[in-house]
């Protein structure tokens, strides 16, 4: 194949992938509302996802709040508006930085995990084994995982945001004797419904994307151990890209509704 042909063929593959991913999402919506509901497996997945990412999200959130406050402090201090720090930091973290950074962390942790797990189940014929024993593997494995990420990622993001604000409060407390109570009073004064609501809505879409892409890549994994590595790897790359796309769309749409 010559170079001039290769580029269009990549583009073609890209659009085929998007088509297949949409089809996969369509199948999810078709099967999510039909019986039987795998509640036990859903709970197990929620627990796994939360348990596996809690510490990571906590540490990331804490450092994020800490660093963000330390970095913006000098500029604001120069302007003499140090008192803006709580409101500025909280609005940036809750509206944008927190959700995106933590969703990216979750993409690395959860999406790749699901991609590798389902991928190895596909390669070792465990998914086939489920199907021949009369259980719909899409429902049992994929639907539960996508639902679990859609529910858990927003919770992880709220948790991460809270820890980030706590990190920021500690910096303020050390640098300028602002008490934690005063700091959080400022924060809650600054945050409005239009800051919190759109940001929370979009986190559900982040969660959905994380579960969807991870499952898609794993469930359709190619044979061989190379396939598993590739499934987990491309899951992270695609999810990260999708998170930015969703973020862009969300900001665009909410701008129309809430004039933020």
């Amino acid at each position: 194949m010559t170079n001039s042909v290769k580029i269009p063929s990549n583009i073609k593959t890209f659009f085929i992938e998007i088509g297949e991913l949409s089809y996969f999402a369509g199948r999810f919506f078709k099967e999510v509302f039909s019986r039987p509901f795998e509640f036990k497996e859903l709970l197990r997945q929620c627990y796994n996802i939360g348990n596996r990412s809690l510490l990571l999200v906590g540490v990331t959130g804490f450092i994020l709040g800490l660093v963000f406050t330390l970095q913006s402090r000098p500029t604001l201090a120069n302007l003499g508006v140090e008192s803006w720090i709580p409101s500025m930091v909280s609005i940036s973290i809750v509206r944008e930085i927190g959700p995106v950074i933590i969703a990216l962390i979750c993409a690395g942790r959860i999406s790749s995990g699901i991609g590798a797990e389902l991928g190895s189940m596909r390669v070792t014929e465990q998914i086939d084994a489920m199907e021949v024993s009369g259980t719909n593997p899409f429902k049992y494995l994929v639907v539960t995982r996508i639902m679990a990420t859609t529910l858990m990622v927003p919770l992880l993001i709220i948790f991460g945001d809270a820890i980030a604000l706590f990190g920021s409060a500690i910096v303020e407390n050390l640098k300028s004797d602002v008490s934690l109570v005063l700091y959080f009073n400022e924060v809650f004064n600054a945050l409005k419904f239009t800051d919190i609501f759109p940001a929370t809505i979009k986190t559900f879409f982040f969660g959905f994307a994380i579960g969807l892409v991870g499952s898609f890549k794993g469930y359709n994994c190619k044979k061989g151990t190379v396939g598993v590595g590739e499934a987990s790897n491309t899951a992270v790359v695609y999810t990260s890209m999708l998170i930015f796309v969703i973020d862009f769309i969300a900001v665009f749409v909410f701008d129309i509704f809430f004039e933020i």
């Binding site: 797990e117 190895s120 189940m121 070792t124 014929e125 465990q126 086939d128 084994a129 489920m130 199907e131 021949v132 024993s133 009369g134 259980t135």
Partner: protein, 246 residues
């Protein structure tokens, strides 16, 4: 027991064709499995044996041809009917395919999920199946804690837990040492005697074929190239057939 023209086969494959792109894997494969019979299908690796048995249980859609199980054409069944028909078939996968996030007990309980009445007796059924393969002590272990031979036996226990009429074995002895392989073959015979099931055994292990087969089919070039007993095939002079018995 042996093939008998007056008795309907419980599994019948007619003119099965399947290609993946330009790779023509099956080109009109035929097979009949009779009640109580041990039928061995031999073929080189990559000759489409796994594809063939996956067509039987509806994991792969063939391009053309038909598969009848106990008189029912599986292509004409809806999802629920197919699921229930599948529970009449025990399937032992090539690499055992145990669910590695579940314990041995949960692995064995899994096929019972769609039978509400059997789910009530699950403890009894699980123990019974484990006793059949002599591994009751492994009930609470994870698959990662089992040796290759134990995995194969647990997978076999999982395949027979619903007392299927037909058991399909995909290379049951591949990847095992000769002694463990012999144990597995012995176990397959015991189970067959106890439950009176019919077996379709895919292998390229000549020893396995000699010990267990009532009848054999050689899968060559995507078709049922020759059929006969082990002795009959052994006596053939043709080069393609001789290659199997070296």
């Amino acid at each position: 027991m042996k093939d008998n023209n007056h008795i309907e086969p419980i599994l019948k494959i007619k003119d099965l064709k399947k290609s993946f792109g330009d790779n023509h894997v099956l080109n009109g494969f035929n097979l009949e499995l009779f009640d109580g019979e041990n039928l061995v299908v031999m073929g080189k690796s990559g000759s489409g044996k796994s594809v063939m048995i996956k067509c039987i249980v509806g994991l792969i859609q063939p391009d053309s041809g038909s598969v009848e199980i106990m008189g029912k054409d599986i292509m004409k069944l809806d999802h629920t009917e197919l699921d229930f028909l599948r529970t009449e078939i025990g399937f032992l996968f090539q690499g055992s395919a145990l669910y590695d996030s579940m314990t041995v007990r949960e692995n064995l309980e899994f096929p019972l999920r769609i039978h509400k009445d059997k789910l009530k007796r699950k403890d009894e059924l699980v123990l019974d199946a484990l006793e059949n393969v002599g591994l009751t002590h492994a009930i609470d272990l994870m698959p990662s804690e089992l040796s290759g031979g134990m995995k194969r036996r647990i997978a076999l226990a999982r395949a027979i837990i619903l007392h299927p009429k037909i058991i399909i074995y995909d290379e049951p002895t591949t990847g095992l040492d000769p002694i463990t392989a012999k144990e597995i073959i012995e176990l397959m015979r015991e189970i067959q005697l106890k439950h009176g099931s019919s077996s379709l055994i895919i292998t390229h292990d000549v020893d396995c074929a000699r010990v267990i087969s009532n009848r054999m089919i050689l899968l060559i070039d995507g078709i049922n190239y020759v059929e006969g007993t082990f002795k009959e095939l052994l006596a053939l002079k043709e080069k393609k057939v001789r290659a199997f018995f070296k």
